[in-house]
Amino acid sequence: MADIVLDKVTKSYPDGTIAVHGIDLEIADGEFIILVGPSGCGKSTTLNMIAGLEDITSGELRIAGVRVNDKAPKDRDIAMVFQSYALYPNMTVRENMAFPLKLAKLPKAEIDKKVNDAAKVLELTDYLDRKPANLSGGQRQRVAMGRAIVRSPKAFLMDEPLSNLDAKLRVQMRTQVSRLQKQLGTTTVYVTHDQTEAMTLGDRVVVMRAGHIQQVGDPQTLYDNPVNLFVAGFIGSPSMNFLPATVEQGKLITPLGDLPIGARLQRMLAAGDAPKQLVLGIRPEHFEDAALVDEAQRAKGFEFTAPVDLIESMGSDKYVYFTLEGGAAAAADLEDLAADAGGADLPHDAANLVTRLSAESRLREGADAEVWLNLDKIHLFDPADGRNITLHEGRAAGVTAG
């Protein structure tokens, strides 16, 4: 077990493309850290550099305090689980799991014991003499995990290990991975493009984009206090709503209506270089059916009326969709997010709003609805650089704070 430190680690290729731009990251001993981001953000490259499968162009990588830049993967004492599982098809499950131990020249009795123990933990005992071809996807995935844990390495690296499983199995394996990591207490770096995995698994999440780290923090911090538009849009499902907003006479003009602004934000926006066009961000759960909000709360928030497009009842809550007049928010970050979600070609002329309301809500499709929104929870972003301007000393303060 060990800590892993990335000190200005950069990866560039001979053709000049830079996959990873000088990343600084300290991973504590025993920590479960997630690298998340859209495809091409450099998360897998970073993992491969930690593994030693790719050279580090510049910067330093230290495992347990020792510089390992020039060490071969086998001398770094870390295990890796691949997206494709990469099981050796010519070997049985037992041989697959024993392979790293055999290479380490352990005595046979010890190898047998370790393999049997790992098989027991992963419920693979009955399959030890099968070939990978005769296993299901979930079983293959567990064999891949088994091959990693038998060695008790300093760290685990996992490269989207669950993305080839079907949805139900993925949820099941997610909890198993999480439990296993807590049980073993081994430092783990986990790469995924799935923000749900990122939120549920990690002690800390690193959001990456185009080779840069956007934000590092525990899942709740990332969710509540995103530093920029990209993180705000990437974390959370359904994702945050983004609406265009302009500042006029001390008010925020938005498709929802004119929102009041608190004194601190007033001062900030009055400065000469303050952006006039802003992007307003509100998470779906910060809306509520106005009829269900008590008087005291209602006064602190803001209410608007809009026709309901569609209602999806999830049992525990209702997702209510609105279409608002006044156009959608525009920013480079938003286009990136849309491209990643595969929705780049959706119409952008109207703003779509997703709200998550109580299940008791009596709203109906087609009818006008009175919706309340929590002003303390909304974010404002500068469309030019995506910065969250409502962040005060690292915490989101809403727009009304004094």
Partner: protein, 272 residues
């Protein structure tokens, strides 16, 4: 049904066309000198004289040893070199890679006839003429492009993740190759070995041009020098028997390695 019948008839024609000459040679090899030309497909009088005769002549036995030795050594060297070259070509990006592939393709396409005279002179001057290495060298040269091409196709099918996994599991580059990649490439290696062996075994052009004595003459050449025990004896029966005998090693070779060529050996390695 109709198309099945059509294909069936076509198959039979092809098989008959391919097998009749072979069976004919077999038939001839069992005929006595007197009945050789009687035109019967099945010999009226069976005899093993022809076989006894060819194994009594020193000429044939010696040629058989030469053939087996030269073909096996050439195959071994070509496959080992080809495996390493193909692995490098399919896995690594090194300067001059496309040049190497291009040149090896060029060699494979070069008409061998045009090389015979220069090779003859070179070997005469270097003392390789009429020796085993004198044949092994050109065989390797012409078999290597074939080996590299076949093998690199096989290597490309092996998921690269397996090699990465082996390295993460603590293997050196060499161990990853020996313990993970090579076993998976085995079907390809054996296929290549068969092709190279057959190429070396069947060669006539180099064998007749670059040899002059029994010291290194291979069977296809020795056959062409076959005469009867006396000038007046018809060597047809003996030639047929020899032709049958030299087919046997190829059949054995293919049968032996065929068991190792298991299709779909890599299934289950990755998600698929």
């Amino acid at each position: 049904m109709n198309s099945k019948l059509k294909w069936g008839v076509l198959d039979v024609i092809v098989v008959v066309f391919a097998l009749v000459p072979v069976l004919w040679i077999v038939s001839l090899s069992f005929k006595t000198t007197a009945t050789l030309t009687d035109g019967n497909f099945i010999p009226r009088e069976w005899t093993f004289d022809n076989y006894q005769l060819i194994f009594q002549t020193d000429q044939f036995v010696r040629a058989l040893i030469n053939s087996i030795g030269i073909a096996l050594i050439s195959t071994l060297i070509a496959v080992v070199l080809g495996t390493m070259a193909a692995y490098a070509i399919s896995r690594l990006d090194f300067p001059g890679k496309s040049l190497l592939v291009g040149v090896s393709l060029l060699i494979a396409m070069f008409p061998q006839v045009s090389l015979v005279s220069p090779l003859f002179n070179i070997e005469r001057n270097t003392g390789l003429f009429d020796t085993w290495p004198g044949l092994i060298l050109p065989y390797i040269t012409f078999a290597l492009p074939l080996a590299i091409y076949t093998l690199s196709a096989f290597f490309k099918q092996i998921p690269w993740d397996l090699e990465k996994a082996a390295k993460m599991d603590g293997a050196t580059q060499g161990e990853a190759f020996r313990k993970v990649i090579a076993p998976l490439a085995a079907p390809g290696v054996f296929t290549t070995a068969i092709l190279v062996f057959i190429f070396c075994w069947n060669d006539f052009l180099f064998a007749i041009s670059l040899t002059s004595t029994e010291q290194s003459r291979t069977v296809p050449v020795a056959l062409s020098f076959f005469t009867g025990a006396s000038q007046f004896e018809d060597p047809t029966g003996a030639i047929s028997a020899a032709a049958v005998v030299i087919t046997i090693p190829i059949i054995l070779f293919v049968l032996f390695f065929q068991r190792r060529i298991v299709a779909g050996l890599t299934s289950g390695a990755v998600k698929g």
